[in-house]
Symmetry: none
Subunit: 213 residues, 2 copies
DNA sequence: TATACGAGCGAACAGATGTTCGTGTCAAGG
DNA sequence: CCTTGACACGAACATCTGTTCGCTCGTATA
């Protein structure tokens, strides 16, 4: 088992990798045969079996193009793709998610999973307009990643729509008796106190991103 | 073109994504048909054509499993993997990159390429300790991505080591005559003026990341 | 020399799969 | 009421594709 791969086996393996990168789907036995100038499909089959025994690929019998490269997908899995569905500014509410066709959003960002918590569900991103959130250490041009939710635990940073003020803001949320305290992330700033009927929670802050020009 | 996808089209798209993740190769029309309880392969074919016109997938005619998810592979390629080599704090210089064995760094972050500029070379990341950089809208626990460089253009945000003060800071850099102005990103803060021999540029700020607990 | 075995050949076979086409349904609009 | 277009059906068809099998060749090995 310690034997090295034959030149042909190496060539086949490299061919599969390249094919997969270029096409997004695996090659057929005949494509391998043709492009590598192998005289018979059975030779390809023979060598694919060798590669499978070496645990370099996995074959799915009786399935066309049923070749998987072992160990390839797992690394790519931990990258989350998040749609950028609009912008967030002090004087305007968040875009209504349901009105955004996720398949028509062509603006995306990608992050490793550990930056966005456990589940990648319900995540969306917004571009920050203006400087109304510097107290949350968030500036114009930043991208914020939020998870859609309508309630908040004490201490969570949430995007809230203040009904009376007609304003969106990002603050730490504290329910204190019959009032709500919205605490800026910047400790040097003073909190806002308001009533529950005035706040409409739009989502929880998950990640802040700033790409410096 | 502004029309939303039908429920069935969305289901097919999601199915293809899931299938691809689980199997490493795309599904056949009949697999889609069967698992989604669609009565005819031609219905699948019809909807796949719609998805292709929307530029969500690419189909390769007369090829089994010839379905590609547009933007999936190419997007994954542009994901940059950046090593987190240490931490940055006001009172300590940056770790010397050459002393860090890159193969021993098991802490990494992943970002889409457009967040870090054109080339992925010379990039490294640091965890921010302390609150000495709130004036740059950077707080304790943030991760900063830097590109190693020893000089700076006017206006670039750089990590500098101030020799006399024995201190690391992140500021916008301006060379003004025979002195240097280090301008906090937060417009409400005052700049620092110092002399060129006191500043040691360690890298240029590329991205700031904040994962909110 | 006889035997074993890895490796390769070529052809035929059987499924697996994409394509096509006539037909049907339904809602919107004239 | 008729037309149109989006969407769906189901069956027949034509390839595409994996599998199998008998055979050859060269190099060890007994």
């Amino acid at each position: 088992m310690a034997r090295a791969l034959s030149q042909r086996q190496r060539a086949i393996l490299e061919y599969i990798e390249r094919f997969l990168d270029e096409n997004g789907y695996p090659p057929t036995i005949r494509e391998i045969q043709h492009d590598l100038r192998i005289s018979s499909t059975s030779v390809v089959d023979y060598n694919l079996n060798v590669l499978e025994q070496r645990n370099l690929i996995r074959r799915n019998r009786n399935i066309s193009r049923g070749i998987e490269l072992v160990g390839r997908r797992s690394a790519e899995r931990r990258v989350i793709r998040i749609p950028v569905v609009g912008q967030i500014a002090a004087g305007q509410p968040l875009p209504v998610l349901e009105e955004v066709d996720p398949s028509n959003v062509d603006d995306h960002i990608e992050l490793s999973a550990d930056l966005v918590g456990k589940q990648p569900d319900g995540l969306f991103a917004l571009r920050v307009k203006g400087f109304s959130m510097v107290d949350a250490l968030i500036s114009d041009g930043d991208i914020v990643v939020l998870r859609r939710q309508e309630t908040a635990e004490n201490g969570e940073t949430v995007a809230v729509w203040l009904r009376r003020e007609q304003e969106t803001t990002l603050k730490r949320f504290y329910h204190e008796g019959d009032r709500i305290r919205l605490q800026p992330a910047n400790a040097m700033m003073d909190p806002i106190y308001t009533t529950p009927d005035n706040v409409e929670i739009q989502g929880k802050l998950v990640t802040v991103l700033r790409a410096v020009s």
